[in-house]
Symmetry: C2
Subunit: 74 residues, 2 copies
């Protein structure tokens, strides 16, 4: 899972700490998600994306290796 949380934060000029507080989660969780230390829950990911007024796909995307189980052709 890739993400551009850092870019979104930069646009909004908000720190990891401020984002964490705004979303009711820990700064370390934001940091870990942002640096891809781990994959967030769908709830955390949706909240992060919506905080920035973006869709999930605008903030998070699958890496190539994670696309091995893709949509069927038909």
């Amino acid at each position: 899972m890739e993400n551009n949380i850092r870019v979104q934060r930069a646009i909004k000029k908000i720190s990891q700490d401020e984002l964490a507080i705004a979303l009711g989660m820990s700064r370390q969780a934001i940091h870990a998600i942002e640096t891809k230390k781990y994959i967030p829950s769908a709830l955390a990911a949706l909240r992060i994306a919506h905080y920035f007024g973006k869709t999930m796909e605008e903030v998070f995307s699958l890496e190539e290796e994670e696309k091995k189980f893709a949509a069927p052709l038909s």
Copy 2:
């Protein structure tokens, strides 16, 4: 987190088992996510949505109570 996986499955006429196999996960996981027994990881959720050719938001959505940490007005 709400979801309409069951509807998407019905449209594609695919069983929990078939979906699970197609996505490389267990049928119980599909069942648990579908019946909101637990919230999936962002990776699992994205894969499920994309399997149906849908965006994350078209398949998963926040419940009212989960929107307390929403996007700021500005």
